[in-house]
Structures are given as structure tokens and as C-alpha cells.
């Protein structure tokens, strides 16, 4: 990928003039005319002060929040205006999401949590999905806890399982809202190297909101937000 000039690389995700308002308790504009593009295989970080609208933007990019003005496209196809069921199918196949607070189904084991989106997609047999889920758990060093109910795992462990779940369907784009927020340095570094690896070698796109300057610096580009605006689109770094 490093041989292709940045401007000539394929655009995977494109937001045009995205505006969002919250009406409750008072009408207030969270996102103001947000426009940007993300290239295929790019490792993008979004930074900014707390409350500036990063999570809100990420929820719109993830297609879960459809109450916005503007246009969202993936691979040149509009996601704006699709039905909820179409968007659900799209998320299942193309998006992996790591939430700001670790969110697993508490009654299911770590392994089952990772398997569920794979079972829903139904591309592989459940036997294969189980094998793949084990691989993903191994990536985040959680394979030894695969059969534990997720409610019995620590916060950091749950977050690592959530990362494994986000990767199960080999999504086109992985989104994370402070995915390393609960992790120590060693585990943060591990997640960083996984993201680095899949973006570099698999061409999967990473978009993460982060407060960790090292994590952000390690990516390809940093978008900086303030008060609902993008104040810096960053610049593509050369990747070794």
C-alpha cells in the first residue's frame, strides 16, 4: 500500500456535510458540517476534548444513529436512507465496533459472544465459526478464558473479548470508541499492533476515537475535533 500515493487510494468511507442536533433538553448542534474521507486500509484516529462530539460522530459512522443531516457513503454507495434492516445486515458484514464501555452479553461465554455476529452472518458453519472465534480470542490473549461467562471477566478482559468480537467477520471497517480506555500499557500495545497489522496487511480500515497520544501517533492520520467541528484533517504519514 505504501507504494500507492495517498490521493490515489480507494475511498472506503465518505461523510459529506454531516450535521447533528440534539433537541433534548435544549436544541443544540453537536456536529457542524462534518466532511471527510477515509481510505481503504487507513488507520485513522479521531482526537479532541471530551464532549466535542467524537462518540456522536462515531455512532453516525457506524450506521446505528440515523438521525442526522448530510450524506454517508461507503465504497461510493450511500448508506443514508437505507432501512434499519438493511443497515443491520450492513453492520453485521462490514463493520466491527468496539464500544467505549465494554459491552458483552453477560449470560454468554466469551467464546459465544465472539461467535454471535459470525453465526448471524452465516457465511461459515458453526464449527468453523468456533475455530475462527478461538483464533480471534488468541489474538487478544483471551483464549484461555474462552469458556468463562463474560460477566465473570474483568473490565480489561471484557474489552479484549469485545475487540475479538469486532474482528470475527473480518469487517471492512473496525470502529473503536476508546478501545484501549480500560487497558494497561501492555494490552494497549497488543491492540495497537493488531490494528496496525490488519490495516497494513489485510487492508481493513481502522477508525478509533482515542485519548492515548501514543496510540494516535502510531496510526496513519489524526483528525482533530473541537466543539463539533473538524479543526484538523491531519496528514498522511509515510508508513514503513
Amino acid at each position: 500500500m505504501k507504494n500507492i500515493p495517498y490521493s490515489e487510494r480507494a475511498t472506503i468511507l465518505k461523510a459529506t456535510n454531516v450535521n447533528k442536533f440534539f433537541l433534548d433538553p435544549v436544541k443544540f448542534q453537536v456536529l457542524k458540517d462534518i466532511s471527510f474521507e477515509v481510505k481503504k486500509g487507513e488507520f485513522l484516529s479521531i482526537v479532541g476534548k471530551s464532549g466535542c462530539g467524537k462518540s456522536t460522530l462515531l455512532y453516525i459512522l457506524s450506521t446505528m444513529d440515523t438521525a442526522y443531516d448530510g450524506l454517508l457513503e461507503m465504497n461510493g454507495k450511500s448508506l443514508t436512507g437505507l432501512t434499519q434492516n438493511q443497515l443491520a445486515a450492513f453492520r453485521n458484514e462490514h463493520l466491527g465496533f468496539v464500544f467505549q464501555f465494554h459491552f458483552l452479553l453477560p449470560e454468554f461465554t466469551a467464546l459465544q459472544n465472539v461467535m454471535l455476529p459470525g453465526l448471524k452472518l452465516g457465511k461459515f458453519s458453526s464449527k468453523e465459526i468456533e475455530e475462527r472465534a478461538y483464533q480471534k480470542l488468541k489474538l487478544v490473549d483471551m483464549h484461555e478464558h474462552a469458556l468463562k461467562p463474560s460477566s465473570k471477566l474483568s473490565g480489561g478482559q471484557q474489552q479484549r473479548v469485545a475487540i475479538a468480537r469486532a474482528l470475527i467477520n473480518d469487517p471492512t471497517i473496525v470502529m473503536g470508541d476508546e478501545p484501549t480506555g480500560n487497558l494497561d500499557k501492555a494490552n494497549s500495545d497488543m491492540v495497537y499492533s493488531i490494528f496496525r497489522d490488519i490495516s497494513h496487511n489485510n487492508g481493513q480500515t481502522i477508525i478509533t476515537v482515542t485519548h492515548d497520544p501514543d496510540f494516535a501517533e502510531g496510526g496513519d492520520r489524526i483528525i482533530e475535533m473541537s466543539d463539533g467541528h473538524i479543526i484538523s484533517h491531519g496528514h498522511e504519514k509515510t508508513v514503513q
Binding site: S55, Y59, S62, M64, D65, Q84, N85, A88, A89, F90, R91, N92, E93, L95, F97, F99, Q100, F101, F103, L104, L105, P106, E107, F108, L116, P117, L119, K120, L121, G122, R165
Partner: protein, 416 residues
Amino acid sequence: MKLKIAFDIAKTHLLTKKKQTLVAMMGVTFGIAMFIVMISFMQGVNQFLEDSALDASPHVRIYKQITSDRPSLIQQQNPDGFNVIYHQKPRQELAKIKNGLVIARHIEQQPEVLGVSPQVSTQVFFNTGSVPIPATLAGVDVQREEKLYRLSQRMKAGKIEDLMANANGVILGRLLARKLNLGVGDKVNVTSSTGGTSLLRVVGIFSFGIQTVDDARGYVNTPKVQELIQKDANYITDLHIKMKDPLKAIAFGKELARQYDYRVEDWAMANAAILAGEQIRNVMTFVVSFTLLVVAGFGIYNIMNMNVMNKIKDIAILKATGFDGQDVVAVFMIQSVIIGLMGALLGVIIGFSLSYLLSITPFAAGDFLSIDTFPVKFDPKFYLLGVIFGVITTLLAGYFPSRKAAKIDPVAILRG
């Protein structure tokens, strides 16, 4: 495939909340069990009353009705005039069915008819002691009566053959015999309303298990009654008809009414009170069952609603990871159906057990009905109905919470 995941999730939810699941199930179980007991008992009562009434009464009865309700001479002469007649009295006429025996033979030949019994009945007084006891004496041909009412099976003492053998014999109803303090072999004097008297010998005692019959009827041979009221051997007052299929009686009765100028009464008319009681019991069964099922339904509705509320985060995660509204509906509907099916099956078992216990519980109805235990009808249809009702109730009760679950906005939940 898709349903399989929903089923697995539903199963996990149910198993981790065993107590809640059980409580929801018990609601259905109770509703269905009570429904089954209700309907089995009520239908048992209906069946019992219908059977005993039908058994003891003719399917169709032909007799001559004597009324004052007839056009008077002046009305026939001057139909358009303004005629006022005071105190019209019944005409002096006989209750006789003309050619009764010929008609009986004719009706007997119809293929759908089981048998015809020509009778002559009259009101009499039994004279034992100082108080005359009123009763009806039915003069019958014992063999024909046997064919219609299986009289021999209803004998408490004596045999019907003894009546055939004894021209002065009488078979008394059980309660009548008790009232008169008579047993087989005793003699008793009767006086007819027209003044004739006769000395009869009790040759048997019968019981239909119906108070109004057992308390007031005696059987004698036809000639005995004819002699008692001083009439000839062709004097017949009633034709009792039994059909092979009781349900055909109504149409057949209408047909007879067209052919003969006598009053024709079918069992439905004669037992209108029983049929009305049946309708009331049916309505009652329906109302109570419906109430029980609605209550069970609300129970499930509440528990499923609570369930959805407890699982709101799970629903948000499922939707975030690509499960759509239908998947979420499936997860919760499957839970409802499992609760409904298991509850209904348990209800069927408990309902059957309770019905069985009821059917062997002693029940003293006194002399009014001959019955030892509560009448309960066991019909697989009731159990099937119970399961169907149970599942429909849970489907309805689960639908609204499931739809609510499907509409949950994941962003609102996941923001924290």
C-alpha cells in the same frame, strides 16, 4: 439458521432467569388446568343430564292435546265480525288417537325409527291408608317399551316378564313405591279419575334416576288401563317414538306433524329446560375460561415486559452487531412460546389429574338424580383446545413486548 441463533439466545435467557420463567409458566399452567377442569365438568353435567333425560323420554311423542283454544261456531260463521266469547271451555272429547295402533305400525316401518310404543296413560290415585296418592299409570306393551327404554336394565326389583305374565301386575317407580311403602308381591288399590277401581299386585320396581319419573309413574299392561277407564282395546293416548339417531328426531317430528292431526313433540321441546341450562353452562364455561386465560396472558405480558427491560443492553448489543428487528422479535417470541407450550402441557397434565379426582369424588344428589360421583367428560378435544388457547394467549402476550424490544434504539442505550 437464523431461528437457531434466536432460539439459543432465548434458551439462555430463560435458563438464567429460571424463577421468572417458572412464575410465568405457572400462570399459563393454572389457567389451562382450570379451563380443562371447568369444561370437562360442565360438559360432563350437560352430557349426564342430556343422557338421562333422553334415555327416559321419547325422542318424539304424539298425543292429542285438549285445549280451549279452538275457533268457536260464531267465529266460523262470522269470521270478519266482532265476536266476543266469554269463558270458552274445553270440548267434551276423548284424548284418543284414532287408529293409534295402525299409525304405530306405519311409523315403525320407517328405516330411521328404532321403535314405537303405543301407550294409554291415565291419572290414578293409589289408596293405601287414608290419603290417596296421585300418580300416572302408563298402560304399555312391555316388549315394545323394553325396546325403547331398556326397562329391564332399570329394574331395581322384580322382572319385566312378571308384568307380561300377570294381567293385574304393576311396576312402580322407586320413589313412588317408597312413598306407598310397597314391595314386590304387595297388593294395592287404585282409583282412576273416571271412578274405575282395580286391585293391582306389585311385580317390580324401576328407577330411571330422574325424580319426576321415579316419583310418579307406574307401568301396567295396556288392557288394564283401558279396563280401568272403561275404554275399548283400540284406545291409545300416546305414541312414543325412539329414533336410531336422536338428532334426526326434530326433522322427523315435523314430518309427522304434517301427516297427522295430532300434537307432535320432540325431545328438544320436551327438555327445553335442560337445553337452556346447557346453554347457560356453556356461556359460564366460556366466560370463566376466557377470564382465566386473559389473566394468564397479562401475567406473561408483564413478565415479558420486565424481561425486555432487563435485557435492554443485550438487545442494543445484538442490534449493534448486526441483528435486525426480526431477530430480536424472534428471541422474545420464542421465549413466550416456550413458556406457553411448557405451561400449557403442564396445565393439561394438572387439568387431567384434577378432572380425574373430581370424577371419583362421591357426590350425593339425593333422589333428584341417580349419580354417585361428579359427572366429568373426558374428551381429547378439550385438552387440545387448552394447548391451543395457551399458545395463542402467550403469542399475543409476548408479541407486544417483543415488538417494543425490536424498536429499541441501540445508540440511546450504548451511550451509557
